[in-house]
């Protein structure tokens, strides 16, 4: 039978096994974090490449993201390429490679407002559906507006209109949604 001394000894043991935290807890390695999107536009006929960038090194909170764009020339065909980086680690993590490896679960959508610009997919996944890391951007006459680039994870790529770049029926989770001002001169 338990005596009271035994009971209190049991209590003492139970509490004594609880040890306090000695060190600061480790900081998780946020290897999936996307800090940076770079949309590189290279004129098809040759010439200097232009980089649109969206950079938010500290993630969702903290400082505001930094967005840079450059004017585009009218009546030009550009080859576009998206690079996604995690610049919170050194060397920077290449997130676009992960997206490329899971091409059937991802799709970029380009939506242009007001400016005279058309964008076409230049790549596809294993099922023949577009991915959108590679694109072709064609400028029209002088105009201005903005371009929204959206990356959806696990969209329904077979839904109506999705393969032609219409996001309406895509669903999925938004991994990227950034908007750049456009100026065609």
């Amino acid at each position: 039978m338990l005596t009271y001394k035994n009971v209190f000894f049991l209590l003492f043991i139970l509490i004594a096994v609880v040890s306090c935290k000695d060190d600061d807890p480790p900081i998780p390695n946020e290897e999936e974090l996307i800090t940076t999107l770079i949309y590189t536009l290279t004129p098809a006929g040759g010439g200097a490449a232009i980089e649109f960038t969206f950079r938010d090194l500290d993630g969702d909170g903290g400082n505001d993201p930094v967005i840079t764009t450059f004017p585009l020339d009218s009546g030009v065909v550009y080859h576009g390429e998206i690079v996604l980086l995690n610049e919170s680690e050194t060397p920077a993590g290449d997130i676009s490679a992960e997206v490329f490896d899971e091409a059937d679960e991802h799709q970029f959508f380009y939506s242009v407002h007001q400016a005279q610009v058309t964008i076409a997919y230049e790549d596809s996944d294993g099922n023949g559906n577009p991915l959108g890391l590679q694109s072709e951007l064609t400028t029209g006459g002088m105009s201005q507006g903005h371009l929204t680039i959206t990356l959806r994870h696990e969209p329904d790529k077979f839904a109506a209109g999705v393969s032609s770049g219409d996001i309406t029926n895509a669903g999925g989770e938004t991994d990227i949604e950034v908007t750049f001002p456009l100026l065609i001169q």
């Binding site: 938010d56 997130i95 329904d156 949604e177």
Partner: protein
């Protein structure tokens, strides 16, 4: 002649001088309703061992002569009541009061006196009884408590449900699991209480702002889940039950076995659940299945008449999917989702599969308690408890990381409690102390900044409660003080990330004063005042990020101060003969520094788009409301009830509506007891309608979209009991959302994405050994 008086709910055996007594014992007594204490006329009492059947008279009285001394299993039947089985040892002339659950509804709704805690009669509490728990086999704790007026559920889809008491939930509602404060991750709006209600004997909802014995933070109320004492019976008893639900094709298997002698008793129980995708009237809610595996073991030793030791272990284990069509999306996606008739990511086929997003939760509770009686009215009790809560949440992730949890929290809690109780006719009081230590640890392998930081918390508390009867009045009061230290290690959002160690010291207190006035037996008034403060929880101080919110970023606030609450609750119960039972509660709950999520003026631009930001802030607030019940019992054959609840919550400086306050609800149930036949006992048919109004009071700044409209639901149920060779087989059919209507509920966090569940037919059977 000495008479032995026993009651059916707690069977106490007195050991007398019984040697060689002849078969001339008189066994008599009454059968009463547990809720109203009124006689249950013409009940049948069947004695298994002798095959005797006794019919009680119009006052519920019965008598049987010439019984031999011995142990008997007795079954008691009454029209409209679930049959009950009792075990008694009869050694001399014996009087027995059997309580049956005739007015299940009434018992649920009328204040239960002292069943659990005779120290706080003035508190407003409602109990859900074993038979009601039985009829809802397979339901979650929150679903079961929702049958009490003033209690609603906060949902995350239909699989994750949390109780809301008088508009408050989460950190402000405590769950007491068999005498120990449940230490889980209750702060999360998408975290259901880690507890299996199916093997509980009673579930009690305390609506007052105190469960003062367990802590000072239960401003909204408390839910007490008890497995109850092991019935003394040297034979093996127990039950096995199975329920099938058509919606989600759910299976629930529950079993319990117990045995008890003078010195030693044991009980073992377990629940197994499996459910797949639920269905709205139009489509499957893909990935809303769940699996559960729960068990418990209870051992009780009585080394002497004065001492009792108990060891209790329970395991709760669940894996559940979160609706595939819901995303923690940005505002653009939310607008897309709202415009659709059928959500994204819906499968046309039913499936039991659970894919990310999903949750896996394990909760272990191990408790040792002991009690020593100094005299029959005085005892002291000691409790040592350990709890381990392990929660993993999975999201859709890139690069094959979906198998790595996005949130991985382990909370380890140790509790030590001591109390001294004196429970005499003249005065009742108790006092005690508690020490608890908890340690919350994130696994950094998630690769995601933790939603809440690592922390350690120590609480040292003391309380006292007293109760004085003064004629028709009874006065009572209680006070509690808690010294709390909280050390947290939040991670900053700077580059590079840094860990900042923060330390807080809080002094929490709670004071309650109440009174009961009972001028006549059929009229009781209760009034209670409770002043308490609650220090901010780690999630309110430090939460960061998107994980939890729907289309919003929620952030903690390091500068929060404890919130102070003052709740007044008045309850009036009146019984008009046996015809009408009337119960109304009015309450007012004032807060100084109510902690809530305040929407910020600007959207925050992130790489995933623009999000509204909500930060925990404090403001004075006022929640007031009323709960109202009428039960009418015209003939013992037909029972009719109406329940109504209404509340309103506003911030005081600007009179803005508080978020997630339940809308008004009115429900009515008509039930009809069917006459017993030799085979079918206690059969009952009932139909229930409930109307939930649209929440008209909402803050346009705080809500992303207006609350959904009102809705009306119809339900049916039929239950019966079969008496088979001394065992009882209960059968039941329950139909919910009978009309299969399409609706959405303001208190469901997935209301933006999908409709609620359609029709569900639940079939249940339970065999009592």
């Amino acid at each position: 002649m000495i008479k032995q008086i026993l009651t059916g709910t707690v069977v106490v055996c007195l050991h007398g001088l019984t040697f060689g007594q002849a078969c001339n014992i008189q066994f008599s007594g009454r059968v009463l309703d547990q809720g109203s204490k009124e006689p249950l006329e013409y009940s049948t009492i069947a004695i298994e061992e002798t095959n005797d059947y006794i019919l009680a008279d119009s006052l519920g009285q019965f008598s049987l002569r010439d019984m031999c001394p011995g142990a008997y299993h007795v079954q008691v039947f009454h029209i409209g009541c679930p049959p009950e089985q009792f075990y008694l040892r009869i050694t001399r002339d014996t009087q027995m009061i059997f309580y049956l659950d005739h007015h299940g509804e009434l018992l649920k709704e009328v204040v239960v006196e002292g069943a659990h805690d005779s120290f706080q009669k003035s508190r407003t509490q409602k109990s859900i009884t074993a038979s009601s728990i039985r009829n809802q086999a397979g339901a979650s704790l929150a679903d079961m408590t929702e049958s009490v007026t003033g209690v609603r559920t906060l949902k995350n889809g239909s699989g994750i449900t949390k109780p809301i008491i008088h508009g408050l939930y989460g950190n402000r509602v405590s769950v007491i699991n068999n005498g120990l404060l449940q230490a889980g991750q209750q702060w999360g709006a998408d975290h259901a209480p880690e507890i299996d209600p199916n093997t509980a004997n009673t579930i009690t909802v305390v609506k007052g702002s105190e469960a003062i014995e367990y802590g000072s933070s239960a401003l909204g109320g408390a839910i007490l889940v008890d497995v109850g004492p092991i019935k003394e019976d040297p034979h093996l008893h127990g039950f096995i039950s199975y329920a099938y639900g058509t919606n989600g094709r759910s299976h629930t298997l529950t079993g319990m076995a117990n045995r008890s002698s003078d010195t030693f008793g044991w009980r073992i129980s377990g629940t197994l659940k499996k459910a797949g995708d639920q269905h709205t009237p139009d489509y499957f809610l893909t990935n809303t299945g769940y699996n559960e595996l729960n068990g418990s073991l209870q051992l009780v030793f009585h080394p002497s008449q004065k001492t009792e030791h108990e060891v209790y272990y329970s395991l709760f284990n669940t894996q559940l999917g979160i609706f595939a069509g819901a995303f923690s999306s940005n505002l653009t996606e939310l607008e897309e989702a709202l415009e659709r008739d059928v959500p994204f990511n819906i499968n046309d086929e039913f499936s039991y599969d659970i894919n990310p997003p999903s949750q896996k939760v394990q909760h272990h509770l191990l408790k040792y308690s002991g009690r020593r009686f100094l005299n029959p009215e005085t005892y002291y009790e000691w409790v040592v408890g350990s709890q381990y809560d392990y929660r993993r949440e999975y999201d859709r992730r890139r690069g094959g990381r979906a198998d790595i949890p996005a949130l991985d929290l382990a909370l380890f809690t140790q509790t030590l409690q001591l109390k001294y109780v004196r429970d005499s006719e003249r005065i009742r009081y108790k006092f005690g102390g508690q020490f608890s230590y908890s340690n919350n640890t994130n696994d950094p392998e998630t690769g995601i900044l933790p939603l809440i930081p690592d922390y350690e918390r120590g609480i040292l508390g003391a309380y006292g409660l007293a109760h004085y009867p003064l004629g028709k009045f009874e006065l009572e009061g209680g006070a509690r003080y808690d010294f709390q230290t909280l050390i947290a290690w939040p991670i900053t959002l700077t580059v590079p990330r840094e860990v900042v160690k923060t330390e807080h010291v809080y002094h929490n207190y709670a004071i309650t004063i109440g009174g009961v006035y009972q001028p006549k037996a059929d009229m009781v008034s209760r009034l209670q005042f409770a002043l308490a403060n609650r220090s901010p929880e780690p999630n309110e101080l430090y939460s960061i990020g998107l994980h939890q919110g729907v289309a919003s970023i929620e952030e903690g606030n390091w500068d929060l101060q404890p919130e102070i609450s003052f709740k007044t609750i008045f309850t009036q119960s009146i019984h008009f003969e046996d015809l009408f039972h009337f119960d109304v509660s009015l309450y007012s709950h004032l807060f100084d520094g109510y902690i809530y999520l305040q929407p910020q003026d600007e959207l925050r631009l992130t790489i995933r788009g623009a999000y509204p930001v909500y930060i925990y802030e404090q403001e004075d607030a006022w929640i007031r409301g009323l709960d109202f019940v009428v039960v009418s019992d015209f003939s013992h054959h037909v029972e009719w009830n109406i329940k109504f609840s209404w509340l309103r919550g506003t911030s005081l400086p600007d009179n803005q509506s508080l978020s997630l306050m339940p809308a008004a609800e009115v429900s009515s149930e008509l039930s009809w007891a069917i006459k017993d036949t030799p085979l079918f006992k206690g059969s009952r048919l009932s139909i229930e309608g409930s109307y939930t109004a649209m929440q008209e009071h909402w803050d346009e700044e705080a809500e992303l979209v207006p609350p959904p409209g009102d809705y009306f639901l119809l339900g049916l149920s039929a239950t019966t009991g079969l008496s088979l060779h001394g065992h009882i087989l209960n059968l039941g059919v329950t139909v919910s959302n009978l009309l299969n209507i399409r609706y959405r509920d303001y208190l469901n966090r997935l209301r933006y994405f999908s409709d609620e569940q359609g029709i569900n037919i639940r079939l249940s059977c339970r065999y009592t050994l």
